[in-house]
Symmetry: C2
Subunit: 326 residues, 2 copies
């Protein structure tokens, strides 16, 4: 018996594709598919897993526009951002909350990002969680650009940031543009000088043209400190100066006050993050928040008009709406 089985390269993909067709479009059982494909049921199960994991099958949830959740509608009315409330039980732990919001975002992100686009991503525990779940989606001529440096006194941060960026990059088949600078410079002058370097200014230009920005929120003075504040990026003096300036949070290591203002916050002069003016020029600015400890920060970010699309867990959404009018 002469085997005609030339296991061509993307042969598995081809099979996965027809299996997916048969399963999702024709409602065949895996057993039946196994029979049609002359293989075992287990293999079909695996093929389908593969199909889902590699983005061949795309499952979307489309709210019948007349019925967005009450919370999402109210947030739109009051803050003028498109909210996506992620259902999470109130008794969930903070890590659960983060993980589940991140998973949801990762699944939906593909709807915002496509070929020929540039995605700016920050780093931090939120971004890290998201990056660990992004689902594959093939794109062409697209790139991921790092929004702010991750170096600090102990490390260049390259490994950490590159890990996050890399996951986005491979998921989308996109080119990754790293930003190998410290999160904060010691001397603003150094930043100015470096910003004039062609290698850096090239990257800044890419940032300036990005189509989608994805970021979490930092909240320096909340119980649960974010990655930035735990990682040795700031010293006591820095911290004090933030407190004095009335800072409530940051986006990509750029700080802001409760009213959304940033003027006169000294640390921003030394930050590697994008000026908010740049961010505001980005058509889609996706902010991911989980856990109500970041509420003050979120209020500031909303005031500062940094957000067009907001992902948050149910509890935080409720808390946001219960807080005083703004």
């Amino acid at each position: 018996m002469s085997h005609a089985d030339d296991a061509s390269p993307s042969d598995r993909t081809r099979d996965a594709l027809t299996a997916a067709h048969l399963y999702y479009m024709q409602d065949l059982t895996m057993d039946a598919i196994a029979h049609e494909l002359h293989t075992s049921r287990s293999s079909v199960s695996r093929l389908l897993s593969h199909a889902r994991a590699s983005g061949l099958v795309d499952i979307q949830i489309r709210s019948p526009l007349d019925a967005p959740s009450r919370l999402e509608k109210e947030i739109l009315d009051r803050f003028h951002v498109t909210a996506h409330v992620v259902p999470v039980p109130d008794n969930a732990s903070d890590v659960d909350r983060l993980e589940r919001v991140a998973l949801s975002v990762a699944r939906i992100l593909g709807q915002y990002f496509d070929s020929n686009m540039t995605l700016g991503v920050a780093w931090g525990s939120t971004m890290n969680a998201i990056s660990r779940h992004v689902t594959l989606k093939a794109t062409h001529n697209s790139q991921i650009v790092q929004l702010n440096g991750a170096g600090n006194m102990r490390t260049t941060g390259l490994a950490y940031a590159s890990e996050i960026l890399g996951r986005f990059g491979t998921a989308f088949g996109a080119h990754v543009q790293q930003f190998p600078v410290p999160a904060f410079f010691d001397d603003p002058a150094t930043k100015q000088a470096l910003w004039r370097e062609r290698s850096v200014s090239r990257l800044l230009e890419i940032q300036g043209r990005m189509n989608v920005a994805l970021f979490g929120l930092g909240s320096p003075f909340s119980e649960v400190t974010s990655h930035v504040y735990a990682g040795g990026y700031l010293d006591e003096a820095d911290y004090a100066s933030l407190s004095d300036a009335g800072v409530v949070g940051d986006v990509a290591t750029v700080f802001f006050r409760a009213d959304g203002s940033t003027d006169g916050i000294a640390l921003n002069e030394r930050s590697s993050g994008p000026e908010f003016a740049v961010l505001r020029r980005t058509p889609r600015r996706i902010c991911v928040v989980s856990g109500s400890s970041k509420l003050p920060s979120l209020h500031g970010a909303l005031r500062a008009d940094l957000i067009t699309d907001l992902f948050l867990d149910e509890g935080t959404a409720r808390a946001l709406l219960e807080s005083p009018l703004s």
Copy 2:
């Protein structure tokens, strides 16, 4: 215990939506969802069924553009239409074939049709099969327009056509425009006269502006006769004239020859179907074929440039490619 259960109208939808989120975006098990929603696992199963059936959950299969099936690519190269090959085992019966192709089309149709659009549909066994499976998709300000009359010597055909059209209409929440005329007039003059009536010309205008046309193929001289030829629409003389004229098939009761031409086919003067010129002005023209008995007809339709998107079963696709160059 005071029940706060005010079973609001679209409360079920709301629940279905969160259940879908939890299931498809967060990969929770139905058990876990049941727990979070304070209900039983079975109810969650039903909620999810509901979510899928009512189009809240949308499952798409996206071929990673670099790997369309070999057949689809070859068809594109040779005939310049986007083919969608539906995998069907070669030993499947003709009804199976039709049913499975129809199911696939029904599932994918939502990707072609949206709000503010007009969909023209023909009738016949293929259309009937598709209509029985169309999945819900909410649209606004859209309409379904009947392409050709269905009346014959025995019936107005209204019930039959309206059944088909109606299913599309309810699936998309679209307004249905029926076409209450016979499939074929006895006297061309009657047709001319009627075509000048405002009620009819209004409908013809709608046809002229449709965004998507959906139709099967008729093949008068194949073993398996289509609905048109079995239903008493044509008499012996008509049949003979078609044969004499070298007709190989029809689209919406408008006939054509193997080379795609229609000139001088007398019956067309009496047909209620849209002139091919009208059809060709329609941006998307989706043709559904199952079973290789319709191959000659398909060839003609391709020559006549009636098709932009072609759905067919695997066997027919192979047969199409094996036939002589065209």
